[in-house]
């Protein structure tokens, strides 16, 4: 069998059940991205005889005698197609993992209107952009046919920050270059797959691996008997690791459906999968529990606002093993607990004119980063364990692997190529551990890539929570007391839970002036998939409770909900009271008045505006605010090394991780600004434990705020160094020297090129390294307003318009900031309306596919207006603050409040599916 692949005759030789996507990747077509492998996401789109198909559901053998085009074959004679150029021009990507499929799909869309484009993208999912930049790119392609895109690159000496520079990896993204983890591997690669538990809770009595080991092509089978028994946490945190150490490479016990039982290493994924099916396991089934309130037993009664729990229940204990540690209360399945307090809530509630107390239910939801967890491990000639991984935390991963296998840290190298999204789920070390173990045992390269089903069932979710919130207020709208209790489902392992529940209480409570506040959060083990880090990190859940209750309170007090917030929200004059002993959050700048003005104007909102009613259709407006810190003060360390190279270009080595957001570009903008150069003159080596200095990683909205300040420090130090060297070479005082572009020029006219300077100085001398850890973490604020339409007959909610204002200090790269905002809103839209992991009584996840777990499609997303409020923050680099997470938090409460405005219904459970809205409406009619 033969086909014509990108103009070249190619023989098709593969197993008969192979999908075209796999075969194309085996041919080196790295642009064919495997994401859902079910024909839902479009990331593997290719053309067969000129027609777009999902290659993951197209039999490879059917390609015989056909003409195939992948993104690698789209450019003709080296000229990018109009659609590729349009995607570059409008930056229709963030992580870029969906981009090849988007471009090949978009090239075939016949459209008249924006709505046509959005409908035609039904078979293409993007989790980063919120689709807005993609739709604009597709529209732009028409007008780009005969002109080349204008690229706005400032010259040296012009401002490099505050400018929407294109992401520097854009050309590689739109041409489908092999830039992601799975796109390269050393020769002789073996593949790891694991057998996962079918039971929610069981002891493994016996494992018979003989049949699996005997299968041709199987190289090793590992069970708990073969691995070191050493407790650890998958959470990627810096030392001292605060999280429960309750995880083992492979354990004698399984604690959720999907837990690891045994690992197979084989010559192909197919053989490894087949071998897994041949492993015989004898289980002793243990009682299991899926409900955190039940799992806590009597301890549930201790929570002041959950006093109505039945006493006397004896739950199954998940972590009774003696070797695990840092578990808050293993006998009662409490993995973590946080108590915060300021003032005395009893006094505060006694002073209140109005008290509202409500319970909220938040579901577990999944990140759905397009690129799955994947890593490749091998030993270099000198025996260094090398790990190429799609991780947000290479340095934490290095530390964990060194500890697990008793290796010196410098004998472990972890690095990441481009990431196809993470959203927190790659702040977990989920695949590197077993893969590294296999390489250490076998001495050979091993790769482990998760399937989409594994992403849904065996990684992490956002924490499902029940939140009880009680707020007391005076008639005029001042808050007298707030009390919140949150019970989070940690799932089977503790990882991030205690840190997550901290933010659940501290951010929503800290957002408002209130002298008496109390919070108790508990994370509880159950026999479900673990919950972990996810954009917003617990704040998202707490904000939903707080912002919907504040809205309800405003209605109760007959106050405008925005005016109430405006008066009570903290500002630069306030101190962040709650949890101040542990974290160092500070209000460096706050631009609420401007935010309110922008958002209300965009939506045409007037205080006390009535909803619009047309038959069974009702339209209403709703708002929500939130805040999120920029990184973690004191403990989040970033280091940057900057050099002038012999060729006169700069080299920047930074441990910082670009998850796809564009931080590799923005960090260089900061350096370029200070060095009087341009981003294109700075060669970047990033996030490699061997090649770059330490950086804690990409999480907690930290990269720009913390790695950005390390960059700023390093750039200033290098500039000083260059000026000092030039000063002695030219014999001119430093104060009379200017560094612009590739030249240092003195006031007297003499000058020196950077190349000459590098020639005359020892290169090592022209290198600086600077570290930064923030004393304080500055808070970013956001306000979102939405208009919704509710169909009372079906309960369906459509979001018609969204306007978000973010007070971000300074936008280093406005377009990248807008991309974070739009992407965050749309992720929040899914959380609000359609996303929830559902499980049956055994804890088996019922909807582990994108067809049954619905993330927003382009056609569901309304026009999004984003306003960046720039009010320089004294604590950030050039006044900038973090923006990675906050955009997600406001969507669900704003939509709930808009539904309340439209219908009077107060929905306190997410997602607000048509059925839930309709059921609520039935209850009041």
């Amino acid at each position: 069998m033969h086909c014509r692949l990108n103009g070249r005759e190619t023989a098709i030789a593969c197993l008969p059940g192979t999908s075209l996507a796999t075969w194309l990747r085996d041919q080196g077509c790295a642009s064919v991205h495997k994401v859902c492998e079910s024909g839902d996401c479009g990331a593997c789109t290719v053309w067969v005889d000129g027609e777009a198909v999902h290659s993951c559901i197209y039999p490879a053998w059917r390609a015989s005698d056909r003409t195939l085009t992948t993104l690698e074959g789209l450019a003709e004679n080296g000229n990018l197609s109009p659609m590729q150029r349009a995607f570059l021009d409008q930056q229709g990507f963030q992580c870029g993992y969906c981009t090849p499929g988007m471009i090949l799909t978009a090239s075939q869309i016949d459209w008249q209107s924006e709505a046509d484009i959005r409908r035609a993208l039904d078979g293409n999912l993007c989790r980063c952009t919120g689709y807005q930049a993609i739709v604009k790119s597709i529209q732009r392609a028409r007008t780009l046919e005969h002109e080349s895109p204008a690229v706005a690159n400032p010259s040296p000496g012009q401002p490099q920050i505050g400018v929407s520079l294109p992401k520097q990896d854009g050309p590689a993204i739109v041409t489908g270059q092999p830039i992601y983890t799975a796109d390269w591997s050393p020769p002789g690669l073996l593949h790891l797959q694991v057998l996962r538990s079918p039971h929610p809770h069981a002891n493994i009595l016996n494992i018979d691996t003989r049949a699996a080991a005997a299968l041709s092509g199987v190289r090793a089978v590992f069970t708990h008997a073969d691995v070191p028994r050493r407790p650890y946490s998958t959470a990627g945190h810096g030392e001292p690791v605060p999280d429960p150490h309750d995880r083992y490479l492979l354990d004698r016990k399984v604690r959720f459906v999907g837990d690891r039982v045994a690992a197979v290493v084989a010559e192909s994924v197919a053989i490894a999968r087949q071998a897994c099916e041949l492993i015989q396991v004898e289980y002793e089934i243990l009682p299991h529990t899926l409900d955190p309130l039940v799992a806590m037993g009597d301890a549930a009664c201790e929570l002041p606002l959950f006093g109505d729990v039945e006493p006397g229940l004896v739950p199954a204990i998940l972590h009774d093993e003696a070797s695990s540690f840092q578990i808050r209360d293993p006998q009662r399945n409490i993995s973590g607990e946080v108590q915060l307090q300021c003032g005395d809530v009893a006094i505060g509630f006694a002073e209140a004119d109005v008290i509202l107390e409500r319970t909220y239910h938040l579901p577990a939801v999944q990140h759905f980063h397009l690129e799955p967890h994947v890593c490749t491990t091998w030993l270099t000639e000198d025996g260094t364990l090398t790990v190429r991984s799609s991780t947000q935390v290479p340095f934490h991963c290095q530390r964990l692997l060194a500890d697990l296998f008793d290796l010196r840290r410098d004998r472990v190298r972890v690095y990441k190529p481009n990431l196809g999204g993470g959203f927190g789920n790659k702040q977990e070390i989920l695949c590197e551990d077993l893969c590294a173990f296999a390489t250490l045992q076998l001495g050979e390269p091993v790769q482990w890539q998760f399937t989409r089903q594994e992403e849904f069932t065996a990684t992490n979710s956002r924490h499902a929570m029940q939140i009880r919130l009680k707020v007391g207020a005076k008639r005029e709208g001042t808050f007298t007391a707030m009390e919140m209790n949150a019970i989070a489902n940690a799932g089977a392992y503790g990882n991030h839970s205690e840190q997550v529940i901290f933010l659940t209480g501290s951010f929503p409570l800290g957002l408002y002036r209130c002298p008496h506040q109390r919070y108790c959060g508990r994370a509880v083990y159950t026999n479900t998939m673990p919950a972990g880090a996810f954009r917003g990190y617990g704040a998202t859940q707490g904000v939903f409770a707080m912002e919907t209750l504040i809205d309800e309170l405003a209605a109760e007090l007959q106050l405008d909900p925005l005016e109430l917030r405006r008066q009570q929200v903290i500002n630069e004059q306030d101190e962040f009271l709650i949890g101040r002993d542990e974290h160092f959050h500070i209000v460096g700048s706050a631009g609420f008045d401007e935010a309110i003005a922008k958002v209300t104007q965009a939506l045409g909102y007037q205080p006390h505006q009535a909803p619009k009613i047309t038959g069974n259709q009702r339209r209403g407006l709703g708002f929500a605010i939130s805040m999120q810190a920029s990184g973690l003060a004191k403990i989040h360390l970033a280091t940057v090394r900057l050099s002038l190279q012999g060729n006169g270009r700069y080299e920047m080595r930074a441990g910082a991780v670009d998850v796809g957001t564009g931080s590799d570009t923005t960090l260089r903008q900061i350096a370029a600004e200070i060095l009087g150069t341009t981003v294109s003159q700075i060669d970047l080596i990033a996030a490699d434990t061997q090649e770059t200095p330490f950086d804690a990683g990409s999480y907690a909205s930290a990269t720009l705020f913390i790695s950005g300040q390390a960059t700023e420090k390093a750039a200033r130090a290098l500039r000083d160094l260059l000026l000092a060297n030039a000063s002695s070479l030219l014999d001119v005082p430093v104060a009379q020297l200017e560094l612009v572009g590739d030249r240092l020029t003195a006031a007297n006219g003499s000058s020196l090129s950077l190349t000459d300077l590098a020639d005359q100085a020892d290169e090592k001398i022209l290198t600086v390294e600077e570290a930064f850890a923030a004393d304080h973490s500055s808070l970013t604020f956001a306000l979102l307003g939405v208009e919704v339409e509710v169909d009372l007959e079906t309960g369906r909610v459509d979001v018609l318009r969204c306007a978000q204002a973010l007070d971000i200090g300074k936008a280093i790269n406005p377009r990248i900031c807008e991309g974070q905002a739009t992407g965050g809103i749309v992720m929040g839209l899914g959380y609000a309306l359609s996303e929830a992991l559902q499980w049956d009584e055994q804890g088996q996840i019922l909807n582990p596919t994108p067809r049954t777990y619905r993330i927003p499609l382009a056609k569901r997303v309304p026009p999004l207006d984003v306003f960046l409020i720039e009010k320089a923050d004294p604590y950030g680099p050039f006044g900038a603050k973090g923006i990675g997470e906050i955009g997600t938090n406001c969507a669900a409460p704003a939509i709930a409040n808009a539904i309340a405005h439209a219908t009077g219904l107060r929905l306190r459970q997410l997602p607000m599916t048509p059925e839930r809205v309709w059921t609520a409406w039935q209850a009041v009619t």
């Binding site: 197993l15 008969p16 059940g17 192979t18 999908s19 796999t22 492998e37 079910s38 024909g39 839902d40 479009g42 789109t45 027609e51 777009a52 198909v53 999902h54 993951c56 559901i57 197209y58 039999p59 053998w61 059917r62 799909t105 075939q108 035609a120 993208l121 039904d122 078979g123 293409n124 994924v269 197919a270 999968r273 087949q274 099916e277 399937t451 007959e793 079906t794 369906r796 309306l833 359609s834 559902q838 049956d840 019922l846 909807n847 067809r851 049954t852 619905r854 927003p856 499609l857 056609k859 569901r860 599916t913 048509p914 059925e915 309709w918 059921t919």
Partner: protein, 281 residues
């Protein structure tokens, strides 16, 4: 996705070649569903594509759709202007996934899959379609669309049987139709599908429901109808007849099915606010 258990890929060019059938064989039409889930029980794929059965024949007596006719073919063909009913079939295509799926997926494959939320079954029932089945080792026979699907993922087909073609009579294609569908999100697996077909000459209204039940259900009325007739017809069914699963309850499915049925009637201008005149089923 890769189907790791497949050992053999057969591509017959003549039906006569297929004399044997094994329990671990599967027909491969568009492949868009087969390759979307693990198929651990299947060892052999029998690709239908080389049999030349992709016909979409437009004739005086109606429309014939071959076993491997794709959704795109159906969507893009030119039909006689009087075939108003084609719109129901076109909507069945549009409501099912992206245009890239239409390029490969087959109508017959969608029917054989027999998902309760299948988009074609209710439209074809509404249009009086008949299916030709080629049983393994037996004589071909025709049956009405309404008799084909027996339940969720269950049809009259026995292992090795094949749905060879679909015929939609010209008379039914002249009916006016309306197609309504609702999902939890903007797209995905439907919770309810309502197809209304109206024959002005006889004033007959046929209503077909999909996605709410394991297989399509139909009612016939005389136009015009009022809202209460729909409510009454649905209330007459035991609630246990409606699907209840993680996506939605039976009560909600009944509600939205009623709403969609009413909207389909309204769409055709058949909804009256008057009392019901008569019902026959």
């Amino acid at each position: 996705m890769d189907l790791h258990s497949i050992e053999t890929y057969l591509r017959p060019t003549d039906w006569a070649e297929l004399t044997a059938w094994q329990p671990d064989w599967a027909w491969l039409a568009g492949g868009t569903w087969l390759f979307s889930e693990p198929q651990p029980q299947v060892r052999t794929l029998v690709d239908l594509q080389a049999l030349g059965w992709s016909e979409l024949a437009i004739a005086a007596d109606g429309l014939t759709i071959g076993a491997t006719c794709t959704m795109r073919q159906l969507l893009q063909a030119d039909y006689p202007a009087v075939w108003l009913g084609i719109e129901a079939l076109r909507n069945a295509v549009r409501e099912l996934a992206s245009f890239k799926i239409h390029n490969e997926a087959t109508i017959a494959g969608n029917l054989c899959l027999a998902l309760p939320a299948g988009t074609f079954a209710p439209a074809l029932v509404a249009l009086d379609a008949r299916y030709e089945v080629w049983p393994h080792g037996g004589e071909p026979y025709w049956l009405p669309a309404s008799a084909f699907q027996l339940g969720a993922r269950q049809t009259v087909l026995q292992p090795g049987d094949l749905l060879r073609r679909i015929h939609v009579p010209a008379a039914a294609l002249a009916w006016q139709t309306s197609y309504q569908r609702l999902c939890v999100a903007t797209a995905g697996i439907a919770l309810a599908i309502a197809v209304a077909a109206y024959h002005p000459a006889t004033q007959t209204v046929r209503l077909v429901a999909g996605a709410s039940f394991p297989q399509p259900r139909q009612w016939e009325f005389f136009a015009p109808l009022c809202r209460e007739q729909i409510t009454t017809a649905l209330a007459a069914l035991p609630l246990t007849d409606f699907i209840a699963d993680a996506a939605a309850s039976a009560v909600y499915r009944r509600q939205v099915l009623g709403v969609l049925l009413v909207r389909s009637l309204s769409d055709l201008g058949l909804l009256s606010e008057f009392e019901p005149i008569s019902i026959h089923s």
